[in-house]
């Protein structure tokens, strides 16, 4: 019997440690890749209409849909201090009917052209996204013209927008993810125009007809906007169409916008935001940085990929796969006109908040102390390079990427030199970026049920407690004997 077992074991070893008999040799290792095919991006052409509207045309043959992105540089940072949130307010009213179409008419119209219309508001700009079936090009552009030239800012619509926005915001204030992200923005953008983006439901009461009409009239101008239009039309045909419907949109002189640079926090701060009865817990760690030039942008992209860009990055593998502290853990970078925001975002098991925070800090610290291995750098670069075509496969994703690119003024070279720029990144450059960015004081925000979380945060020397709206409540400090004290 023993002999048989021994023979079997020898046979297993000889057959490549496999218990699956008759395995073909090619199954033992992954096949090599074929030569990489050249990525040919869809043709992008540009034109400027007589009213100074910049138009980028992407021609994609045989597409059943058209996708139009309108960028207007009318983001939240341009809202007046009072009422904060005006940019969001204006955007929420666009598409809720025009002077010639009621809300119900608009809903029916959009459905009838297979349309989807949405507006997102950022710090520096708004992005209006409009997709529709290509066969309805003329009615769709006619509708866009009404939205821009005949918006409906009646009292009824304003009251309704205030009601729904308040309702939405109150609902979101029960969501630890929303609450913690907003709080992080407040902490990092304190006394900067970007702080206005984090307005609370109280600001909505001050919204009024005059301020929104002024804001719209001032910023919603063709010389302050750009269009990216993806369809099967050629440059000439597309610009002719857009011009036909938007040529009455009049430009206006705009004062230059001067934004102060973002300020790096002077010291580390830990905030606990109470979301009563929440079963979930979110942890955010963030900092800001001055706007990077092109080479640094790519160093940061690789650093982000190593730390938390995808589920195979360090944070996810550690906090979820290895320690099971978190449902997910990622990092991301956002770029604005006045600088950038780098953050780590993790959905943590409430009972594991303390060790989870330790691990996040450890991962960040490690990047500032030890250079990333060349192998890991190459893997991160490989992901960034090869994932790129996947991101632009859908017609709407491609035009959305283009819109982001144009909104940030990334320039023509950004995409054409994308591969080359990523390839040039090395371990030294990533290490230098990590030391510069992550070596500075960080803001940590935890959001969840305070009654559950505070029991788990006893190791922290000090932290500030806020309510879900972001109002400061008290500071918890640990004394020499380890007892926690609250000070208001």
């Amino acid at each position: 019997m023993k002999k048989i077992q021994l023979r079997f074991a020898v046979w297993v070893v000889l057959s490549g440690m496999s218990v699956f008999p008759q395995q073909e040799r090619f199954r033992r290792s992954p096949p090599p890749p074929e030569p990489l095919q050249e990525l040919k991006l869809p043709r992008i052409e540009r034109a400027v209409l007589s009213n100074q509207l910049n138009v980028s045309i992407v021609t994609r043959e045989n597409a059943p849909f058209s996708s139009l992105q309108l960028i207007v540089f009318a983001g939240e940072s341009l809202s007046p201090n009072v009422p904060a949130g005006t940019a969001t307010f204006v955007a929420s009213l666009l598409g809720r009917g025009t002077l010639v179409r009621s809300v119900l008419d608009v809903e029916e119209f959009l459905d009838s052209i297979g349309g989807a219309f949405s507006i997102s508001v950022g710090q520096d700009h708004i992005l209006l996204t409009f997709h529709f079936m290509e066969e309805y090009l003329d009615p769709a552009l006619g509708f866009l013209s009404q939205v821009l030239l005949q918006p409906n800012f009646t009292r009824t619509e304003i009251d309704y927008a205030k009601f729904t926005t308040t309702y939405d915001l109150v609902a979101k204030e029960k969501d630890p993810d929303f609450v913690s992200r907003r709080h992080l923005a407040r902490m990092l953008f304190q006394n900067h125009p970007y702080e206005k983006f984090a307005f609370s439901s109280d600001a909505i009461k001050a919204w009024n007809q005059t301020s929104l009409a002024d804001f719209f009239d001032r910023f919603y101008r063709p010389n302050n906007a750009r269009i990216i239009f993806a369809s099967s039309l050629s440059l000439n045909a597309a610009t002719r169409k857009i011009s036909q419907y938007l040529n009455l949109w009049q430009p206006r002189d705009l004062p230059p916008i001067a934004l102060p640079p973002l300020k790096v926090p002077e010291k580390e701060r830990i905030c606990l935001v109470d979301v009563p009865q929440s079963r979930e817990c979110m942890a955010y760690v963030g900092t800001v940085f001055p706007n990077p030039g092109n080479p640094e942008r790519f160093d940061l992209a690789v650093l982000n990929q190593v730390l938390g860009g995808t589920p195979t990055s360090r944070l996810f593998m550690n906090l979820r796969e290895s320690k099971a502290f978190a449902n997910f853990a990622y990092s991301e970078a956002e770029f604005y006109r006045a600088g950038g925001l780098f953050l780590v975002r993790a959905k943590v098991r409430p009972e594991a908040i303390a060790p989870a925070l330790q691990e996040i800090r450890k991962e960040i610290r490690t990047l500032t102390k030890e250079p990333v291995s060349s192998l890991e750098i190459e893997q991160a670069k490989s992901y960034l390079i090869f994932n790129f075509p996947l991101r632009i496969e859908r017609y709407d994703e491609f035009s959305r990427r283009m819109a982001d690119n144009q909104a940030r003024n990334d320039g023509e070279e950004f995409w054409s030199r994308y591969y080359e720029q990523v390839m040039l990144v090395n371990a030294d450059r990533v290490f230098a970026t990590a030391q510069k960015l992550l070596g500075q004081p960080l803001i940590l925000v935890i959001a969840g049920d305070k009654s559950v979380l505070s029991e788990r945060l006893t190791d922290l020397e000090t932290y500030d407690v806020f309510d879900a709206k972001g109002q400061f409540q008290y500071t918890v400090t640990k004394d020499k004997k380890g007892a926690a004290h609250e000070a208001r």
């Binding site: 496999s18 994932n387 075509p389």
Partner: protein, 445 residues
Amino acid sequence: MFNHGRRRTRVGISLGLVLVFAAPLLGQFGPSFPLTHARLKNGLKVILSEDPSLPVVSVAVAYNVGSVHEPFGKAGLATIMENLMFRGSANVAPFQHFNFINRVGGELSASTSEDRTIFYQTVPSNQLALVLWLESDRMRSLEINEGAFERARMALLDDLLQKKSEPYYDSQLSFDQLIYSDFPHSHPVLGTEENARNLTVEDARNFYTGYYAPNNAVLCITGNFNKLSVSELVARYFETIPRGKDVSQSFEPPVYTRQPVIKTFQDVLASAPAFHLGFRIAPPFSNDFYTLSIVDYILFRGRSSRLTRRLLGRDNKIAYQAAGGIEKRKDRAIYRIFCVVNNMAMAERCQEAIFAELDRLKRTVLSEPDLVRTKTMFKRDYLERLSSSMERALFLCESFLSLRNFDDVPLELDKYMKVTANDIVGILNRYFTADNSIILNVKTK
């Protein structure tokens, strides 16, 4: 091996593949894209759809198995199997599937439903062989050991815990039992905690052997690939995987008595009252199903749909939330509506409003503009499902597993577009009636 376009080739015969059919037929409204399909000797269905516009390729492997195939008392097995498929096979270490795909910039995911388990990934087109190697390895030689099984079971228990903490989840399960009545169709995809704790590694091995065989699967490759080398690669990696036992896909036909059912359920986690309302409708992709799909759009799709406006209209909103749609579970389908309301009186008012709107639709033939609008929305969503190589691969797998005749794929959209206003009245009268309705009112504690 595969027939690209109208031309048939005999290359496949030398590789041992049986060429079945190529379907370049196009409908009047249908999307135009190349589509070829074949079946290997071991029964694996292979579907190819080429799109050379970007250097990207998607591979989906769909197994014709889901929670409906779980034996009584073994609920949760299908979900555990999905998890185990990432925990290593003869030549791929646990979780290396993720790493291999991620390192080449690819993206991957998997899903388990009542009647399918699908694994899909998109990679740069030069990495097609890698994906076929990975997929074939786990189809051929998954390693199911005690450790991997235990970790998969823990993941399932975590998911169950999460689900159980969601308001209305328990009421949803209770409604499923009312409307489907038999175990295969009525039990949840995640199963139950009790079942999950009783499952054994042997159960998982038997489930894998029984259902994760080439003759119970479809492999779909879409995007940018080399026409000549793709057939060679498919043959290389999949042809020698042994065929499994034939799988029965038939279930006891349901016996329903047609009478209204109204029950009440107390949901301790619900913060507001709610109700589930369902109608048993014709099986998926039966003749009536095409009209039923258009009816779904009339009732609940788009902001101008009838019940969306009736229940959630800005001037006459009577529900906090309202959603509805067709739910398919293998050979059964229901039309399902769920509303969250302010109080039980409003629940009653909502139900009256729903039946009143249905009556109005039965009495008045839908106007031509309304019908055209509805079909435009349907067409948009249908074509959206072909917008990327991944979506197209999933669409084709789904079509293959659902349709009686896969060759009808290019003609499918036409069937929806040909639905008439009179067809709609007929369907509403047949299925959307009080005596075919099942209501579960959900009370708060």
